[in-house]
Amino acid sequence: MKSLAELEEIRKNTLDQIKMRKNKDGIRIVVGMATCGIAAGARPVMNALVEEIGKRKLRDVSVTMTGCIGVCRLEPIVEVYNADGSKVTYVKMTPEKAARVVAEHIVNGRVCQDLTIGAAEAAEKAKAADN
């Protein structure tokens, strides 16, 4: 059985790392977690992001959640706020795509253009024109 004393242990172990990180600007990842996002599978996507970031031992990257982003038909939506303040919006996410975003965008700084809201909307427009 776990005891709260173990938390004290974690506190001691992480304190130094936190002090080192304080001055650095990090990347913030936000997952849409309202009814639309949850129903579309935002939880597994968020879990995949956290797992991938943990696996790669990435520091200065936080994953958090927000309410409805407003484009429910494209959920699950993941927004990446880069350290310079710019934002990339990824749509129709899956756990597999989330792992790719961490590898290509978060680690290597290359935006996954084909997963962005811009690409999704361009594809929709092209489809509408065909009809």
């Binding site: 059985m1 776990k2 709260l4 173990e6 938390l7 004290e8 974690i10 506190r11 172990n13 992480t14 304190l15 936190i18 977690m33 309202a34 009814t35 639309c36 949850i38 129903a39 939880r43 968020m46 879990n47 956290v50 970031i53 943990g54 936080s62 958090t64 959640m65 309410g67 409805c68 407003g70 429910c72």
Partner: protein
């Protein structure tokens, strides 16, 4: 929603939107009635009688981006499908309580799902709120409070990955301890 945990997450997001400083979630399993009762209580802005009356209507929402809100209607349908019922009470300015009752052994009851993950992630995402979880079955109880955890952590944020992982394991142990063998999907 495929899991009770996802419904709870959804209702908790309403509490966040209502500006709550605490969200208390209680799950009570009762042998006598064969029911699992979930209550989510917050101290947010609440709502007036008029809003309360139509809140289970999918064409009611407080959001401004669209005209439909499905969180509460989906939960209500889920309860009723499993032989349970749904109730919501609220007072303008003092908070809201959502009560969802499921038939434990009904074939249409959603599984509990990743409740530990939901509670740990909500604690990490909203560190200024006190997020509590209470599990009750007979005389057995499990209690979790995010603000108590934060007191132990001191200057270490609750969103620290090592902390979140520990919280998930800790709460999962509580779930297995209290609901193992009671909810068929939890073997304990």
């Amino acid at each position: 929603m495929r899991e009770i945990a996802l419904h709870i997450l959804d209702i908790m997001q309403n509490s966040v939107a209502a500006g709550s400083s605490r969200i208390d979630t209680v799950l009570t399993a009762e042998y006598e009635t064969g029911t699992l009762t979930v209550t989510v209580e917050d101290d947010g802005c609440g709502m007036d009688k008029e809003m309360l009356e139509k809140v289970a209507d999918p064409f009611t929402t407080s959001r401004t981006t669209r005209k439909v809100g499905l969180g509460i209607p989906l939960l209500k349908a889920s309860c009723e499908r499993s032989g349970g019922n749904f109730h919501i009470s609220s007072e303008k300015g003092s908070g809201t309580t959502v009560t969802a009752v499921f038939g434990i052994d009904h074939i249409d009851r959603p599984v509990l799902g990743d409740l530990a993950g939901v509670v740990a992630d909500m604690s990490a995402a909203f560190p200024s709120m006190d997020i509590t979880l209470k599990l009750v079955c007979g005389t057995k109880q499990f209690l979790y409070s995010s603000s108590q955890t934060e007191r132990i952590l001191g200057e270490v944020p609750i969103s620290e990955p090592a902390v979140v992982k520990w919280l998930k394991d800790y709460i999962n142990e509580g779930i297995n301890e209290i609901f193992g063998g009671v909810l068929s999907e939890i073997t304990g």
